[in-house]
Assembly symmetry: C2
Homo-oligomer: 546 residues x 2
């Protein structure tokens, strides 16, 4: 037998999966493609790549080396994008700071991650001044200002971003290193306790990018992302690397548009002026864009939008489709880098009516390549994929956080049994996963489990409902009872009786349990959200659950 006779050439290149290599192909096929900031600044791919090298030289000059952390506090910008590459490519760790957290929490995450340098947008100076004296690791700040505002003297500033880049060399020999080197870190916005730090390696980000590109390109018709698209993220770049899609956009070689701070008018204008065809956002943002005055004058019929963070409701999906938007769900979370599944319409659904297909657009969808996704009972046995039986969604993929920073207990809980526990409850049918609830949000009433998301979805179908949230309120007799909180459409405000009757129809048809029709429906002005735009059920329960 000669089969252990494999020769490895002395100089054979043992290719590590590193973020720098995402540039290899696009610099060849798309060096002149545009990266646009707010419609004002236009850079080519090759000049952004040069600026990435300049930024690395600036950071290097500031003492950043392998293993050090660099934090960014900015709106979505070309600069943020440059940090997505420069920091990890030099072997350092990028901390994307959630600037919507409270000052205390921002302080906590900065001191926990320990950045040496902070890239600070002038708009966050007040926040920064509030916490600066308690910062334990930051040595210097790189000052960012769209308005050419001078850097403050009250904090240690290395210089202004553009000035520093202009003075730096565009030569930087990004080294090879172990693909398991940490590339990024950020903090989840759990509603209990301190934010928890997750972290991702070069290998994980490269594999996530490849699998996401493969999945998004695979759809026969629509719900896809291809070389002819124009991309604009509307998920903050501090939030799970804007779902990793900027890395995919690079590999595709498409025009990329970064909108700065999210302002509905400005977002709609960019979609129109720049010809944006592919975005992703949470439901609230899409809702907001559709309801912005003048939105109906913008042609959205070429726009494809992945909805994540929370489920895409039936009502929102229909409103979007009416505008010509190719809207579909995606599923994942901070711990999962994030992508796990996409609700693209597979050809087998072609036998359904367009109306029935909308149901599938609203699901979590089918797993992307390499995702081993199971729905299990308490003993980790698979539950039947019968469209009826629910279980916890647990996953394995090559791009899951291996734990939480400095929190072994939560880490072990996350990975109990060798699968990452999403804490989401799901049901599968035709290969499509539907998330019916978070484990902690499920409502237990009279021994029955009721899905809050299902009731929200059915409420959203009513024309008088703009948005709905359902929580469990304590009940002496039943343990819990569902309470619906509704933001009404002021043009056609519904009554409580109307909404109950609306739900009763679904209960009579067997589409929802009779126990699930809420006794209480309250009209409120707005629904509390977390910093990343999800319904904040913890706050709602505190307000309305007792």
């Amino acid at each position: 037998m000669q089969n252990n006779n494999a020769v490895i050439a002395a100089e054979a290149y043992n290719y590590p999966l590193l973020i720098k290599q995402l540039w290899s192909a696009p610099l060849v096929h798309s060096p002149n493609q545009e990266i646009v900031y707010r419609g004002n600044i236009r850079l080519s791919y090759s000049s952004v790549r040069s600026r990435v090298a300049c930024l690395a030289n600036v950071l290097s000059g500031a003492g950043v080396s392998m293993g050090d952390t660099v934090a960014v506090m900015d709106w979505d910008s070309h600069r943020y994008l440059e940090s997505y590459y420069a920091v990890p490519m030099m072997g350092a760790v990028l901390q994307t700071v959630n600037i919507r957290l409270s000052p205390d929490q921002v302080l906590y995450t900065l001191n926990h991650a320990g950045p040496k340098v902070v890239l600070l947008n002038s708009e966050f100076l007040p926040l920064y001044l509030e916490i600066r004296e308690q910062l334990t690791s930051v040595e210097t700040v790189i000052w960012i200002s769209d308005e050419a505002e001078a850097a403050p003297t009250s904090i240690p500033v290395l210089g202004s971003y553009e000035t520093l880049l202009a003075e730096a060399s565009a030569d930087y020999d990004f080294p090879d290193f172990d693909e398991n080197t940490r590339a990024t870190t950020f903090y989840t916005t759990g509603t209990t306790g301190n934010p928890k730090g997750v972290y991702f390696s070069h290998r994980q980000l490269v594999l996530h990018s490849l699998a996401t590109m493969a999945a998004l390109g695979s759809s026969a018709k629509g719900q896809n992302f291809h070389t002819g698209d124009v991309y604009m993220p509307i998920t903050p770049m501090f939030h799970v690397h804007a779902w990793g899609i900027p890395y995919v956009a690079l590999m595709l070689g498409v025009k990329q548009v970064y909108p700065g701070r999210y302002q509905p008018d400005q977002l709609l204008k960019l979609i129109q002026d720049e010809g944006v065809t592919f975005s992703h956002c949470v439901p609230t943002i899409l809702q907001m864009l559709l309801n912005t005055p003048g939105s109906d004058k913008v042609d959205l019929s070429e726009w494809k939008v992945v909805i994540g963070g929370s489920a895409l409701s039936d009502g929102l999906a229909r409103a979007a489709i009416k505008r010509g938007i190719d809207v579909f769900g995606g599923y994942g979370m901070s711990e999962t880098c994030p992508l796990l599944s996409l609700a693209q319409l597979r050809p087998a659904l072609g036998e359904l009516s367009e109306d029935e297909q909308i149901l599938y657009r609203c699901k979590a969808g089918t797993p992307v390549p390499l995702v081993d996704l199971r729905t299990v009972d308490h003993d980790m046995n698979d539950v039947p994929a019968d469209g009826q039986t629910s279980g916890e969604v647990v996953v394995r993929t090559p791009w899951l956080t291996q734990g939480y920073f400095g929190n072994p207990e939560a880490s072990d809980e996350l990975w109990a049994g060798g699968y990452l526990h999403t804490q989401d409850i799901g049901i599968s049918e035709r290969g499509y996963l539907k998330i019916t609830d978070r484990i902690k949000d499920v409502i237990k009433t009279g021994g029955e489990w009721v899905s809050s998301i299902e009731i929200e979805d059915l409420l959203s179908k009513h024309a008088g409902v703009i948005e709905a949230a359902v929580i469990g309120a304590k009940d002496e007799k039943w343990g819990e009872r569902p309470v619906a909180l509704v933001v009404a459409n002021n043009d056609t405000p519904p009554s409580v009786a109307e909404l109950k009757a609306h739900l009763q129809v679904f209960a009579d048809e067997g589409q929802m349990s009779r126990y699930a029709v809420p006794d209480q429906i309250l009209f409120i002005d707005s629904i509390d959200k977390t910093s990343v735009g999800k319904i904040n059920k913890k706050v709602l329960r505190e307000k309305y659950g007792n």
Copy 2:
């Protein structure tokens, strides 16, 4: 600084890139999708997955374990496909035997790779009997026969494939192991010396599959492979894993059609009956299908075809496009797993006429994700991508053979300077690589380098030319002079003078060097090919080069 404080949960799953995981998503979204053999046998994805487990149990029973080699000698079939999974997934090595080699060479490759078990199609029994006494490693044979032919008693046979599978358990717990474990091996069909063995690991095949899926899905319009397609390979499954596309087809969840032995009528019938929309082949096969009597009655207007192995000529591209075929080039080789680049029409080419775009379809194309492809001079410096300057194509990707089996010298030559040397000469422009020649096929005349492929391509544009090969013949004055060997179209046979005048036009226009117009043009009946369908210039030089 707390940033080295990363916690890895005790049970966190450190996901290795293994071929078994290609099944995770498709078993969820496409369990009932079809895999078809010759239009007769239809299996679902989930039943093929069960049969993969059965095959692993059969092989295990035959004594195959981690690190052992299993050879396959079959036409393209569902059985071959099952071996693509079962053998590597159990940690063994799949040897795909090139059954078009001479018996001596088949013997050499079998003894060199050392398989314990051979899966043998009855059609190769005569070949097998010729070499069996000299086989040094084979312990038993699994007998394959479409015609239910009884297994011969003259060789040690474990049993018939279908009978063995029927008797085996469909439970096999495919283990996790190091992703760098070797998965496959096969032998290049170099025209000099013994065939050289290349080998690929699980990690390499998974990454190749992901990047290929990502690249093939990325095209805005046409030249793509998506969930709505029906796939049929027409590149032998013994040849570089049928370019790795069966693995991509699985991840997409598309219908797959395996045609058995390639018979033009049968291939056309399958395209028609099964609705095939995506294939790949060498130019000769496409040529043959277009020229098969009755081919014009088959609707090929939904068919997308990647051409590799040799360059797609302008003449063949036009003939295919006239039939409605979306034909485009791909580039790679045995050593590269194989895919390096694809000639998809990127949106930037939209400014060109359809006629000019055909030129780009005929190139090697733009690099796929993670491919670091350079065109270099003798000192490994990049040559300008100006559409003029040629250099050797050298590459780095995560899926390149790290050497040749038991051949350290050739291995070190392959990897000199840390890049894999393709031995192809290329020119780049607009990001598209064009291969102008193999280093050893380039013609040196009067101090000038002349590309044989370029002359072949220009000759192919003439309606009287079915196929052309150009070689260098020894010449006392000029060193070498190009000689053109032409297979003429008998309907409109051209004269030598006509073909010279045809080429002279391009020389006058500056599209080719005046030195490149061959002095001699010979009409021959057929052009010698290698076992994988490439023009065999070594044989042609021996016949016509002196």
